[in-house]
């Protein structure tokens, strides 16, 4: 199985005052192209932190001692410890500009609380990633193309009548659909969803998962989704459970 995105024994510790709080302790995850992986875990288990590391928003801790090669072909794998790899390339070895581009083009984030910009309307929020990607002149040249892409995504998600509305005028489910459209704007290789239904009632949450599942069916979109809801996790191809910063069970 080829690997699109992988975490190799990554750890993450946050410092609270004088105390080190380990959040992830040597977590390894691999995601194949077109796969839908759900990361299940209770609150505080480190699942959002793992998603941030996979998305290049945060950096894992440096491994304490680099593993030595044992001469049996395990050198390469041992040297990858503590790394996040995208298409075989370590995010830690990327420059800041490359990491920005990775977040912009290769992954798309969906957050629990939608995080839409209140000053922009639905289309503008959806097209935000394209604006960042192309810069001012580039976006002006591709404005029609970008807006059409944003519109078609929004129409696909049932927001065709809400294009000029502001986030404050939308329901929670509608906001989350705008956030999904925004995440998919630049056709990312991986969609990273952090509790996308966590702020919605069960029916609306189910509808959101249906939207994601339906899109994935047609586009073979790779998805890594963090959730604490087993029903949501069960829609994925594979479920990893995080407990106390470790992957304790894989279904």
């Amino acid at each position: 199985m080829t690997t699109l995105l992988a975490a190799r024994s990554v750890s993450k510790t946050y410092r609270l005052g004088r105390v080190d709080v380990p959040v992830l302790r040597g977590v390894s995850v691999t995601v194949a192209p077109g796969e839908w992986v759900a990361i299940l875990g209770a609150s505080g288990s480190g699942k959002s932190t793992l998603l941030h590391l996979l998305g290049g928003l945060d950096r894992p801790d440096r491994p304490e001692r680099p593993a030595k090669a044992n001469g049996r072909g395990e050198r390469h794998e041992a040297l990858d410890d503590g790394q996040i790899l995208f298409e075989g390339r370590s995010l830690q070895h990327m420059s800041q500009a490359e990491l920005d581009r990775y977040r912009n083009v290769s992954v798309g984030f969906v957050f629990q609380f939608y995080h839409l910009l209140p000053e922009l309307n639905v289309v503008e929020n959806a097209a935000l990633g394209a604006m960042i990607r192309h810069g001012r002149l580039g976006y002006m040249r591709r404005a029609t193309e970008c807006r059409d892409r944003a519109r078609s995504l929004l129409e696909l998600f049932g927001l065709g009548q809400r294009l000029r509305h502001r986030p404050a005028e939308l329901s929670g489910g509608e906001r989350q659909r705008v956030a999904i459209a925004r995440a998919l704007m630049n056709e990312p290789a991986v969609l990273l969803a952090d509790e996308p239904t966590g702020n919605l009632d069960r029916a609306t949450g189910a509808a959101i998962i249906d939207v994601i599942a339906s899109f994935r069916e047609t586009s073979k979109q790779t998805i890594v989704m963090v959730t604490h809801d087993i029903a949501v996790a069960e829609r994925a191809d594979r479920v990893l459970e995080l407990r106390d910063g470790r992957v304790v069970e894989a279904k």
Binding site: L57, R103, N104, H115, E119, M140
Partner: protein, 502 residues
């Protein structure tokens, strides 16, 4: 692209940036107004000084310069000199028609030559209005139907006596010298219970000996021919112009016969027929008429400094030619030949105004920096408010530089809009500064501009495009400076923490 879009939205949908725009606008307008008024004040001061004094002055007080007509003729023969005018200055006392007395600077002038050097005729107040305005008609300005002889009398400083029909030497007073002339809010003058050009005044002066001691008090009645309004309060309130020959006579500086030494009037002798008679003096020569100043106007394009050097050379040759005359011309190395700017009072005043302008601008510049701090404070609060949005932008791939540019660009927009509005406000205020000042006086009783302190009867102002550009650029710069620190803070935000920000 997202920076432009968000800047536009932040500007149009939030109150705080509008406050920042207002702060930048007020600071820019304030500095621009102050600078315009101070610059206008200095320009008016220099222009008035030059108008009143000419470009170069030759001065020899008390004793005066003899043979001045010959000197002026020599000077006017030079291509660098456009015109020359003799004047005689002395302190004097005016007895006004209402019984009041007033100390004045009395200046003896020949109307025609004085006008050629100073443009004196244009400062005469009582002359027909060249282009009457509707407001002049509304208030039935006295000058609308004024007989032309007032103007001529003013120009010549001579008045025809209505009873005898003979010409009389007259005076022209500064329009603020008389208490009955009231300066109206609109800048014109209304006269009270008497009309000055129909009155007579008593002028008293002190003829001085060569050593500056008063010989006697000379008093004489003069008809008032006209009044002058130069806009320079010092002159308008304290100057009295008199026909030169009349003042020379009062000060004993007119041309006079010189008798042989030892002669005493009143000596009784026996004439050829053996009868008693008063002794007659033997005329051995003539005392030439004298003036204390010669004002010179340079030819177009000649700088006052170049003119002064040329005048010095001409004067040296003139003085050398009269070194043996009796009396001799004042020595070239001692006579004062100065440009109008070099005159002690003017030099000090101009330097003081320049320094005051620099000081006031520095102070107001510092005050205007509050705009930078205000923008900084507003942006700091905004970065805090927008922390999660910044996290979202970073999650969507926006670079640190891109986020910083969002806020710097925002500061730039506030600076540009605030400065342009400030420029417009300043322009409107400067343009209407005198009506606004009058309105403040009428409505609020606040008169900030006192002509007796600031020399001019109206507030001068001058907007120079280069200075306006500097002030507007300063407003933009301060706004950007205010935005830089919050922008750096936004750029350094950890995206994960920003996304978790509550």
């Amino acid at each position: 692209m997202y920076q432009a879009l968000l800047t536009r939205r932040y500007l149009t949908q939030k109150i705080m940036p509008l406050l920042a725009v207002a702060a930048v606008m007020l600071c820019t307008a304030m500095v621009l107004i102050v600078w315009s008024v101070m610059a206008g004040f200095l320009t008016s001061l220099l222009a008035s000084g030059r108008t009143l004094m000419g470009d170069v002055i030759i001065q020899w007080p008390v004793a005066g310069i003899p043979y001045y007509e010959e000197l002026i003729e020599k000077l006017e023969d030079d291509p660098m000199v456009a015109a020359g005018a003799p004047t005689l200055e002395t302190p004097g006392l005016l007895g006004m028609p209402d019984g009041a007395t007033k100390t004045v600077q009395v200046v003896g002038v020949e109307g025609e030559s004085y006008d050629r050097v100073t443009g004196y005729a244009d400062t005469l107040w009582w002359r027909p209005l060249a282009e009457p305005l509707p407001r002049d008609r509304e208030r039935q300005d006295f000058r609308l139907e004024l007989p032309e002889d007032y103007e001529l009398a003013g120009e010549m400083l001579t008045k025809i006596d209505r009873e005898t029909g003979s010409p009389r030497a007259a005076v022209v007073l500064g329009i603020e010298a008389s208490r009955v002339n009231r300066r109206a809010a609109g800048g014109w003058f209304e006269f009270g219970w008497y009309f000055m050009p129909e009155q007579e005044i008593t002028l008293s002066v002190l003829p001085l000996s060569q050593r500056g001691a008063a010989i006697t008090v000379e008093a004489r009645r003069f008809p008032v021919a006209n009044e002058i309004h130069t806009g320079f309060y010092e002159v308008d309130a304290n100057y009295a112009l008199v026909r030169l020959d009349a003042l020379q006579r009062m000060l004993r500086m007119h041309a006079a016969q010189r008798f042989e030494e030892g002669f005493e009037f009143g000596e009784v002798i026996e004439d050829e027929e053996g009868e008693e008679a008063f002794a007659q003096p033997v005329i051995v020569g003539e005392y030439p008429a004298r003036v204390t100043n010669i004002l010179l106007r340079g030819a177009p394009g000649v700088s006052p400094d170049a003119l002064r050097e040329r005048v010095r050379e001409i004067y040296q040759s003139f003085a050398a030619g009269h070194s043996e005359s009796s009396p001799p011309a004042p020595p070239a190395d001692r006579v004062y030949i100065q440009t109008w700017e070099e005159r002690p009072g003017v030099r000090t005043l101009v330097a003081a105004v320049k320094k005051e302008t620099a000081l006031v601008l520095t102070l107001f510049g510092f005050i205007s920096m509050t705009a930078a701090f205000l923008v900084c404070a507003i942006f700091w609060a905004m970065v805090s408010e927008k922390t999660r949005d910044i996290g979202v932008l970073r999650a969507l791939g926006a670079s640190r530089g891109g986020v910083a540019w969002l806020f710097i660009r925002y500061g730039l927009a506030i600076g540009v809009i605030g400065s342009i509005l400030g420029g417009i406000v300043a322009h409107l205020i400067v343009w209407n500064i005198n009506p606004i000042h009058e309105w403040m006086g009428r409505a609020l009783g606040v008169y900030v501009w006192d002509p007796s302190i600031y020399y001019f009867t109206t507030i001068p102002s001058e907007v120079e495009p280069s200075k306006a550009a500097i002030v507007l650029a300063g407003g933009v710069l301060f706004s950007v400076m205010g935005a830089i620190i919050p922008a750096m803070r936004a750029a350094r935000l950890d995206p994960v923490r920003a996304l978790r920000f509550e």
